[in-house]
């Protein structure tokens, strides 16, 4: 874990993401940022330009530094501008696209799935596709069914793209810098509930390799794998379980494609039990994938069935009474572990 020093400040996740983009743009003139309202107020004159800095403020610092050539407000044309980013990447840029909400990538799915994800393969390795698509995701703010979906399972399914799901500001910065300088298309998921969460972030640029999980808490009785905003809930559940004498190991995979299978399997071989916490509907989910991989590779170590703690097979509801029971909770994680005993 990072400690706070002179060069390490406490930053929110959204500011950590913004700092990563700024440092990438300073390092390489081929890095550009584009998307709806990434500056905001384009063409309105100096006073009104950069009025938004992204829907969640992540790109706010960029426009004054890099201007309209490299920080491009786009029309609301997801297929058009995501497709243009794919073509620009094939032609040598390193575009960072802000697609706003994960749900909106549906409008650009052909550009991601048929064009970006297959290009290196179809062209026999000729094409590099250094494209990063940033999206916000997650339930918990009353955003309703079309502004809350996680969708990372869909992209994890696609060969040719990489999928990143940071849970801390430190990881968000290092993983985003790595994603921008990776030569494959990366879908980078930022959880809305984590945007304001602060944590220590070094001021210098640094990269965290994709495909390396982080063991957030060491334990011996059960392995809990949790994704993005579920990591904090799993840690809180582990705290409660410890009070009852159960020692839980909590693993944050940090990237879902590539997935650090080795770290998860090694943990299960030690603990003999696995609970996967995923804020997505369960069918063909990342939780299911992790359960399947562990069943194949560590079956003999398991003392009982793998438990998935997921959302119901439903879109994210709007009204608070329903949204409150949608995502896994600390209690549902504790209960899942209890059911293994």
């Amino acid at each position: 874990m990072v400690t706070t020093t002179a060069a390490t400040r406490s930053l929110s996740l959204v500011d950590a993401v913004g700092e990563a983009m700024r440092q990438a743009m300073e390092a390489d003139p081929n890095v550009i940022v584009m998307g709806e309202d990434v500056a905001g107020g384009a063409g309105r004159g100096e006073e009104k330009e950069n009025a938004m800095g992204g829907s969640f403020g992540a790109t706010k610092s960029l426009y004054p530094l890099f201007g309209p050539n490299r920080v491009r407000d786009t029309p609301i044309s997801e297929a058009g501008f995501v497709g243009a980013a794919v073509g620009a990447a094939a032609a040598g840029l390193r575009p960072v696209v802000d697609a706003m909400w994960a749900d909106f990538t549906g409008l650009a799915f052909d550009q991601i799935y048929n064009q970006a994800s297959k290009m290196s393969f179809m062209f026999g390795g000729q094409a590099r596709l250094p494209l990063t698509i940033r999206v916000a995701m997650g339930s918990g703010i009353g955003a309703g069914a079309q502004h809350s979906g996680t969708l990372y399972a869909i992209y994890t399914h696609l060969p040719g793209v990489k999928v990143v799901v940071p849970s801390t500001p430190y990881d968000a910065k290092g993983l985003l810098l790595e994603s921008i300088f990776d030569d494959a298309p990366v879908l980078f998921f930022e959880h809305l509930k984590l945007y304001v969460a602060r944590g220590p972030v070094p001021a210098d640029a640094y990269r965290i390799p994709l495909g390396v999980a982080e063991v957030r808490r060491v334990g011996g009785d059960v392995t809990i794998v949790a994704i993005a905003a579920m990591v904090d809930r799993a840690l809180e559940a582990a705290e409660q379980l410890a009070a009852d004498g159960t020692s839980a190991e909590v693993i944050d995979p940090r990237t879902l494609s590539p997935l650090d299978v080795a770290t998860i399997v090694a943990s299960v071989e030690k603990t003999g039990a696995l609970v996967v916490v995923d804020e997505s509907p369960p069918q063909c989910s990342v939780a299911s994938e992790i359960a399947a991989v562990v069943s194949e590779q560590a079956f003999d170590s398991l003392n009982g069935p793998v438990r998935r703690v997921t959302a119901p097979h439903a879109p994210v509801p709007f009204t608070p009474s329903l949204e409150a029971v949608y995502a896994p909770t600390v209690q549902s994680i504790v209960d899942a572990v209890g059911s293994l005993a």
Binding site: P75, A79, G83, A91, Q126, R128, G160, L177, D183
Partner: protein, 328 residues
Amino acid sequence: MIEPRTQLALYRTMLTIRVFEQRVAREFRTGEIPGFVHMYIGQEAVAAGVCASLGDADYVTSTHRGHGHCVAKGCDLGRMMAEIYGREDGLCKGRGGSMHIADCSRGMLGANAIVGGGIALATGAGLASSVRGSGETAVAFFGDGAANQGVLHESLNLAAIWKLPVVYVCENNGFAESTPSSYATSVPDVAMRAAAYGIPGVVADGSDVLEVYAAARTAVERARAGAGPTLLEVKTHRFMGHFEGDPDRYRDDDERRATRERDAIAGLHDRLLASGHATEDELEAIRAEIEAAVSKAVDFARASPLPDPAEVDRYVYPELLAQSATAW
């Protein structure tokens, strides 16, 4: 007046496409070529006329009917043929095939099996050129079927507001598979839609390669000057079915015959002779040279091995990591 040298180059490119495609069709019937192929025969003036104004560094994106664009962009015939045969020495090492031929070293960013799939990509290549100030032009080739894809409209708007150096070339051969353009498209000329984006919309006759060349040159010059995109529609005809083996029941024999009477290659052949820019012997020599090159391409393809089954998932992620510009 288009220089005689340019006219001869256009003739050579068109004829190379024709001979290449006729040979692909013939070899396809032997069963040696996997999958299926879409012939460019009849549309040669479009690829030849447009690409004559482009250099190696300029970009093109193509369609499922993409062999002509590859030839016109200067791709190696042997490596093209090997790709169509699915061989390891193909441009894409056999992983792409006819519908995904690409040659990034020549700015050929791929044939594309999604109708309209290359349009946004060319827009992005133009964006890359514009951001860098590096001067390349990008051309998106697409058919009349793609004229009704939403991504075309999003791309035209984007290129117009950003004044990107892109030329959108609609090859209107009258049919999207079997569905007539006259039925599926709300306006008689796709080029009319340019007005909606405040950019020039130009119609050229695809049976006259010199007209296509002149129209494309104007559009490319406009792009290079930073004045923004053009929508160039070329009225053309495919002589064959939608794909090799298509029974083509949506057209009658008279229709097909009529389209062939307006063959751009025969047209330029006759003009070169009439103007005295070439003799029959010279044009015959060009043909013989092309036929030999295409035969050599087939021999090269046949001699190339099929990819190793152990490499079924190779190239899913890029292997050639660029030198990072960062110290960290």
